[in-house]
């Protein structure tokens, strides 16, 4: 089972992100379960959503305490919310920021992860450029596909086209694709021989 926890703030599409992941996984013939953290959410308040992906039926209903990936949609949550609690030692971290990962003061968390398991993505900027709204959820999902390899970008694109009307869907697909390419290139650069 692959478990994703998404942190953000009300209004950033945190719940929608988990739902889109679940639909993309379903598109691939996999079992998926997305659910929000059930608060009385309001705009700007910290929000958490979850998505489980598995090759077998998912029966558990407990929250995700030990995620395989954490997506941080709002960098201002860093150091205010326990974002990485329970993160698998082989897990993935994806942060929406235009800064470099090294500038976030997360070195202890990130150093514990395997190489190539963490990435920064300027998702808000990508969303503004492609969608025209500062909602970072979809570009982050594109970046997540590249970072983890858990789902292909095409599955996410189909989930977006299922969810949104034509023009909005295509803008979101463009934003997700741009983020996917950036992270893929980043990973390839990291993988390049340094000796």
């Amino acid at each position: 089972m692959f478990q994703v926890r998404i942190h953000g703030r009300g209004g950033q599409g945190v719940v929608t992100a988990a739902e889109l992941l679940a639909v993309a996984a379903f598109d691939q013939g996999r079992h998926a379960q997305a659910f929000p953290s059930f608060g009385s959410e309001r705009t700007g308040a910290p929000v958490v959503s979850y998505c489980r992906i598995d090759d077998h039926e998912i029966r558990t209903r407990e929250p995700i305490d030990a995620p395989d990936a954490v997506i941080v949609q709002d960098v201002t949550l860093v150091h205010h919310v326990d974002l990485f609690g329970g993160l698998s030692p082989t897990g993935y971290v994806l942060v929406n920021t235009s800064l470099a990962l090294g500038e976030l003061g997360l070195d202890d968390t990130l150093a514990a992860l395997p190489d190539g398991h963490a990435a920064a993505c300027a998702a808000t900027e990508l969303a503004l450029a492609h969608v025209g709204r500062a909602v970072p959820n979809v570009p982050l999902l594109g970046a997540w596909c590249a970072l983890t390899g858990e789902l292909p970008l095409e599955a996410l694109a189909r989930a977006l086209r299922h969810r949104f009307t034509r023009e909005v869907a295509e803008r979101n697909v463009a934003a997700a694709s741009a983020a996917f390419d950036l992270v893929r290139d980043l990973k390839e650069a990291q993988r390049a021989p340094t000796a």
Binding site: H31, A32, Q33, F35, F38, R59, R61
Partner: protein
């Protein structure tokens, strides 16, 4: 067709397939998405002919449902928590009058303290109202139960409440196979009311009944509940023959053969419990779980049969009767008095507190060790309780206890 969709959407789509003629509901979390979706379907004509009636309260929602059903319309509504309590007089009336309204209850805790999260306090509060109460384990079962609910309600002239865990199911996006319209139509014949308000053939419904007949009228309603014990399994079997799915019925036994310890529970927590049972089985322990689908009528004989081989019975329930203990547990004890001394109740998941597989494995471990008390509260923070008890002992004006506990937690450690 198998689709990945929100539980609330699956319920709305399925209810629409059942062709209700009147839907009347008042929005309340976590039921809201169901009603919004049905309202939209009525407005855009996807659900037609159907009248969606806006009202000012849950009391009105159930009252309108009673009127619509008495006029011969297939009638649907939905609520949760405080909304159910607000309509409770009419809830009793719908059952007492024998009107086959179908209602989704998106299970949520009851205040005070105000809490929007899931537990089963709301359903338990109306366990004696005369409604059939069916609990769903998954969104697939919740959807399927609605089709069966209309069939049962109309066959028996008894209202049916489909209970599904608020947020945990209503807001979960997972795969649900939406049943074909043709299958629903073949399974659910047009509503033929046993009684109907018809100007061309006038009757009155809702007589004043004195001591000379009240007991008989109530007993007749009880007999219809007992009829339901027969009909619920046969309707579920017929549904399974059409869809291949074992949704509904009285009970869902899981790995009970040779089980020495059996957990009894209702609703979505059964999935987590099954994972725990599988884990303990792999460790060689003889454990199983009995899911109760029909809480009302309560399947006394079937529960006794299912628990016959068990040495220890643990009821894990998301509600309790203050000053007494488990509600489901009391019914299980009535059904299976042999398990008496070895029946433990674990109250869990109150107000949305998570129940994890590790929690359930811990319960099974303590049960095996003989250290599980007859009544316990899962993950109860004894320190917080003790501190408030101390404040109450120390000062007459100790203040409101919910606020005190929250302040205590905020000052001490982080609370989830």
């Amino acid at each position: 067709m198998l689709q990945q969709l929100e539980g609330s959407r699956a319920i709305a789509e399925t209810v629409a397939l059942c062709r209700p003629e009147v839907v009347c509901a008042y929005p309340i979390s976590p039921q809201t998405h169901i009603i919004e979706a049905i309202g939209a379907m009525v407005k855009d004509g996807r659900l037609s002919p159907c009248e969606f009636i806006n009202v000012e309260s849950e009391y009105a929602a159930m009252s309108v449902s009673i009127g619509a059903s008495a006029a011969g319309a297939r009638t649907y509504t939905a609520t949760a928590s405080q909304g159910l309590l607000f309509m409770i007089e009419a809830v009793y009336n719908a059952a007492g009058l024998g009107l086959p309204v179908v209602m989704t209850l998106a299970n949520r805790a009851i205040g005070a303290p105000i809490n929007i999260w899931n537990d089963h306090s709301d359903a338990m509060a109306v366990g004696d109202a005369g409604w059939i109460q069916l609990f769903a384990e998954t969104n697939q079962e919740a959807a399927d139960l609605h089709v069966q609910a209309f069939r049962l309600a109309e066959a028996l002239s008894v209202p049916v409440m489909v209970c599904m865990d608020g947020f945990i199911l209503t807001h979960a996006v997972e795969a649900v196979d939406l049943i074909d319209q043709a299958v629903v139509d073949s399974f659910l014949p047009p509503y033929e009311p046993r009684q109907v308000l018809d100007p061309d053939d006038p009757v009155s419904i809702g007589a004043m009944v004195g001591p000379e007949a009240f007991e008989e009228v109530r007993y007749l309603a009880h007999l219809r509940q007992l009829d339901a014990l027969e009909l619920i399994p046969s309707v579920a079997e017929e549904f399974a023959a059409l869809t291949g799915r074992a949704s509904g019925g009285l009970l869902h036994p899981y790995r009970l053969e040779d089980a020495e310890t059996v957990i009894v529970a209702m609703g979505s927590v059964l999935g987590t419990i099954k994972d725990a049972v599988d884990a303990r089985r792999r460790a060689g322990e003889r454990v199983g779980v009995l899911g109760v689908t029909a809480f009302r009528p309560f399947p006394v004989v079937a529960v006794a049969d299912a628990l016959r081989g068990a040495r220890r019975v643990v009821v894990v329930e998301k509600a309790f009767s203050l000053g007494m203990g488990g509600v489901l547990a009391t019914d299980v004890a009535t059904a299976s008095p042999d398990s008496g001394g070895d029946l433990a109740t674990v109250v869990a998941g109150l107000g949305g507190r998570p129940i994890t597989r590790r929690d359930v494995e811990g319960i099974l471990e303590r049960s095996a060790q003989g250290t599980l008390p007859r009544l316990s509260f899962l993950n109860l923070d004894e320190d917080v309780v003790a501190r408030e008890r101390a404040r109450m002992a120390a000062s007459r004006r100790s203040g409101p206890f919910a606020e005190n506990v929250l302040r205590d937690l905020a000052g001490g450690r982080a609370h989830r």
